[in-house]
């Protein structure tokens, strides 16, 4: 926790860093309210955009070699998560250095599709990316989705809003997960649709009340309340984390 710090000025430098001997440092445009740990790695030639209130835990890696990476507001990127692909593991398609990085940082909501060369990776609002996950370039994770630990999102996959990819599952390249769907199990996993609205009562209960000539129990609330509660908890978690870290960095004891 102590290593988590709010972004320093060097992080916020939107100009491309000096081309030294090491790997190229990706230009970073982070919101001032984002919390980015010191040991987060930003590499590549394209822009990495971090939205407001996002928390990025130590040793997460951002490889922007094949296109820009957008992380919108309110996300949590956990330890050792890998967003993008390092140049060695990419399909030996090193980006041409002549091509300038997209220095025009658009708003976080708008997408800048550059269909020919750049493959932009996008993580929308309130997404939780677990530890040691891999999100390959071109993946698009919609808002309020959850990617659990050790999951793998392959190239060009599309994860719908309020979905969940459970730990260890893998979404194939170009695959898509619809909204409100849970992918669980192993490997490609099994899928399950989450309850969003008010579901009708279980047939066992209906039959029982018919037989017993008893009134049906009152209708249950919509499944959405569970998701609302989850998002509230996430919001609280981010707030508490921010409150814990800011005094520590400021040097004020309490």
């Amino acid at each position: 926790m102590a290593t988590l710090k709010p972004p320093t000025n060097t992080h916020r430098s939107s100009s491309s860093s000096s081309h030294s001997s090491g790997p190229p440092k990706a230009p970073l445009k982070a919101d001032p309210t984002a919390t980015i740990a010191d040991t987060v790695v930003f590499q590549g030639r394209y822009l990495v955009t971090i939205g407001a209130g996002t928390v990025i835990h130590p040793r997460a890696k951002f490889y922007a070699y094949e296109g820009p990476i957008f992380v919108d507001d309110g996300c949590i990127i956990c330890e050792k998560a890998v967003i993008g692909a390092p140049p060695t593991s990419s399909r030996s398609r090193s980006p041409s250095p002549s091509r300038p990085p997209s220095t025009s940082p658009t708003e976080s909501g708008a997408s800048t599709p550059e269909p020919r060369k750049e493959i932009s990776t996008r993580i929308s609002y309130f997404v939780t990316v677990g530890p040691l996950t891999t999100v390959e370039p071109g993946a698009h994770i919609h808002s309020s989705a959850t990617i659990e630990a050790l999951a793998t999102i392959r190239r060009g996959a599309d994860i719908g809003a309020h979905s969940k990819v459970c730990s260890g599952c893998e979404i194939a390249a170009g695959g898509s997960v619809a909204e409100w769907v849970v992918v669980y199990g192993q490997g490609p996993g099994m899928r399950r649709k989450r309850a969003r609205g008010v579901k009708e009562m279980s047939p066992a209960v209906v039959a029982a009340s018919q037989v017993a000539q008893a009134p049906l129990p009152g209708p249950a609330p919509a499944g959405k309340v569970i998701e609302d509660a989850r998002l509230m908890v996430l919001q609280k978690e981010r707030e508490v984390l921010g409150r814990m870290l800011v005094p520590a960095v400021g040097g004020r004891k309490k």
Binding site: R191, R192, K193, R194, K199, A204, V205, Q210, A220, V225
Partner: protein, 631 residues
């Protein structure tokens, strides 16, 4: 064998005992004082011991007991156990494996809430936790009880509750169920899904409460007339309930209804007053069998001797099947399958909406879709005590409390027999044997190259033990591996206080001498390799035999004479894992123990200071490695 090399197995002697268990039980019941007339192991062992020490094992193999243990024989699969899995019976003075013990359940408990379930409740609860513990019907992970009022912000900890899965995010809202209280969820759910119709409910309650009262008037119909009367009024009873619009009962209610119906049928169709079929024992009682037998014999005698002149036999009443829904009849709905197929094809169901086979296995048989699944109460687990089968002595008894992992009694074999461990002796550069093969890889031992293996026996008893090891000079099977134990007789120190070793260490020339011998690295015949406080290491010299692979190719070419099926089978069976080098070793140990009550059984040479000599002998198998197919 699945263990990595090198491994050791110990053979439970129960496989050699030809007496099956019930027979032994009977015999012991008849004459509990006399020991069964199987050959007393001690005598055989001492005979064997003498022979082994004289190295004339092959000549005197007349008895079965004297045969060399073959780790490859199919029988030995059932008697070889890793040492840590074995138990030891202090009454029988024998090693006990999992097949020579009986288990009895000490307590049932829920692994989730760790509450013990009384044994009277286990059956009625269906072996499942009767409290709040549930598993997710979709992914089987445990469900948590959580409130949903905090989400809507109405108040703290009030209002509806749900069960929710932390993994796949399933909640009871997915099936439209909420609970009013956070406790006793099982009974709440039961109340919701209990589809026993009110009338049937009453009847079943009555049946269960006044079981005997309900049945006895029915079973006491003495004659056919009364019975026919009874049957005549039966439809009238059933008629008012037979409304076609009655909704179908649930599975449990239908089962209860059918059970009641058939019980009534049995009591109705039994026509003799002294008939015991419908008594509380039912069909499975021994009286029922008696009655059936007498019925057959008497009727045959009647018809055979007296022809048809006897009084006309009444036609036995026939049991009928359930006719109405209240009796448990379930008629498949008319458009049921079409509805199901239409639902399958609808876009909101699809493949993901179908319940998988695993999910349906524990649900009601009607559950076809994910929406039909109900949360599953957690299955109970048991703690079990273990008894010796032959003497009923308790070997393992855990604490009955589920929270405790301790044992009151636990007689594991390793506290009585030395723990064998095996490791190859790394060849030193100054080795006197130039042909010594590097033993780095136990998975490919070169044939015909001698290797040295260190066998360490560690004593866990508080008495010093004298050990005699014996191996057949050539391992059984087609791969003839020569084995020599360089020092077959040795002693292991007692498992005394650890401080003893430290205190003796300064003034013990023996150990330092042996350590230097170990440093010298030359195994000598007749000398132990190394020795510690309660352990001793000896050297085995092993010359792996050649596999019959290359030579057996030619050997396989000409077995035209080998037409016997059993031989072919034997050859095929021996082919598998033939390259595994396993050495059978016979271990005989004796020690001077404190005399106990059963001195006359065990003690042979009584020592003056109240000590008796105990003996134990068993086979163990050393898995050394795999032999390379070629040089």
């Amino acid at each position: 064998m699945s263990r990595p090399f090198p491994y050791t197995y110990i053979s439970c002697p129960c496989a050699d005992t030809p007496v099956p268990d019930p027979a032994r039980k009977r015999r012991s019941r008849e004459s509990p004082q006399k020991s069964p007339q199987k050959p007393p192991p001690e005598r055989a062992i001492t005979d064997r011991d003498k022979k082994l020490s004289a190295k004339e094992e092959e000549q005197g193999e007349d008895e079965d007991e004297e045969q060399t243990f073959d780790p490859r024989s199919p029988r030995s699969n059932f008697s070889l156990y890793p040492p840590e899995q074995l138990l030891y019976c202090e009454e029988c003075h024998q090693i006990k494996c999992s097949r020579c013990i009986t288990e009895e359940i000490v307590s049932w408990y829920c692994p989730s809430c760790l509450f013990e379930t009384p044994s009277s409740m286990v059956r009625s609860d269906g072996n499942r936790c009767g409290r709040n513990c549930f598993n997710c019907p979709v992914c089987t992970s445990p469900l948590a009880v959580s409130t949903i009022e905090n989400a809507t912000g109405n108040g703290p900890q009030q209002g509806p509750w749900v069960l929710s899965c932390g993994y796949c995010l399933w909640t009871t809202l997915d099936i439209g169920i909420k609970f009013d209280k956070p406790t006793n969820i099982r009974s709440q759910l039961q109340k919701m899904t209990d589809s026993t119709p009110p009338a049937a409910l009453d009847r079943s309650r009555q049946a269960s409460r006044t079981f005997g009262d309900l049945k006895h008037p029915l079973s006491s119909y003495a004659s056919i007339d009364e019975q026919s009367n009874a049957r005549g009024c039966d439809p009238e009873q059933a008629a008012p309930k037979e409304d076609a619009g009655a909704p179908p009962m649930g599975t449990d209610a239908r089962f209860a209804a059918l059970k009641n119906f058939y019980r009534a049928q049995i009591s109705e169709t039994s026509n003799s007053p002294n008939d015991h079929l419908s008594s509380e024992f039912g069909f499975s009682s021994p009286g029922a069998l008696n009655r059936l037998m007498s019925l057959y014999t008497s009727s045959s005698r009647l018809s055979g001797l007296y022809g048809g002149s006897k009084k006309p036999k009444s036609k036995p009443p026939v049991m009928r099947e359930a006719l109405t829904a209240s009796e448990g009849l379930h008629v498949a709905p008319e458009n049921n399958e079409k509805d199901i197929i239409a639902r399958l094809q609808s876009p909101e169901c699809g493949w993901d909406g179908m319940a998988s086979v695993d999910q349906r296995a524990t649900q009601s048989p009607d559950a076809r879709f994910v929406d039909d699944l109900l949360p599953l109460p957690v299955l109970l687990r048991t703690k079990r005590a273990k008894r010796c089968k032959s003497c009923k002595h308790i070997l393992v008894k855990p604490e009955s409390k589920p929270q405790s992992t301790r044992f009151r009694i636990r007689l594991i074999a390793l506290s009585y027999i030395p723990l064998p461990t095996l490791r190859p002796l790394a060849p030193s550069s100054s080795s006197a044997l130039p042909a010594m093969a590097p033993t780095s890889d136990l998975n490919s031992l070169p044939p015909l190259r001698p290797i040295h293996i260190l066998l360490t026996l560690k004593n866990h008893m508080f008495d010093p033990v004298r050990i005699t090891l014996a191996t057949p000079p050539v391992t059984p099977g087609r791969v003839a591996t020569k084995v020599t134990v360089l020092s077959p007789q040795f002693e292991i120190g007692a498992n005394s206080d650890v401080w003893d070793e430290a205190l003796q260490g300064a003034s013990a020339p023996l150990t330092s001498d042996s350590r230097s011998a170990a440093l010298r690295g030359v195994p000598e015949a007749g000398k132990v390799w190394d020795k510690g406080r309660n352990w001793t290491t000896v050297v085995l010299e092993v010359v792996p035999g050649t596999l019959p692979g290359s030579s057996a190719e030619g050997g396989d070419g000409n077995p035209n004479t080998e037409t016997n099926d059993e031989d072919v089978l034997a050859v095929a069976a021996s082919r598998q894992d033939e390259d595994v080098l396993e050495i059978p070793v016979f271990v005989h140990m004796d020690w001077d123990a404190d005399a106990q009550l059963d001195q006359q059984n065990v003690g042979k040479g009584s020592k003056p200071d109240d000590k008796v000599t105990r003996e134990l002998a068993y086979w163990m198998v050393l898995g050394v490695g795999r032999i390379q197919p070629s040089l």
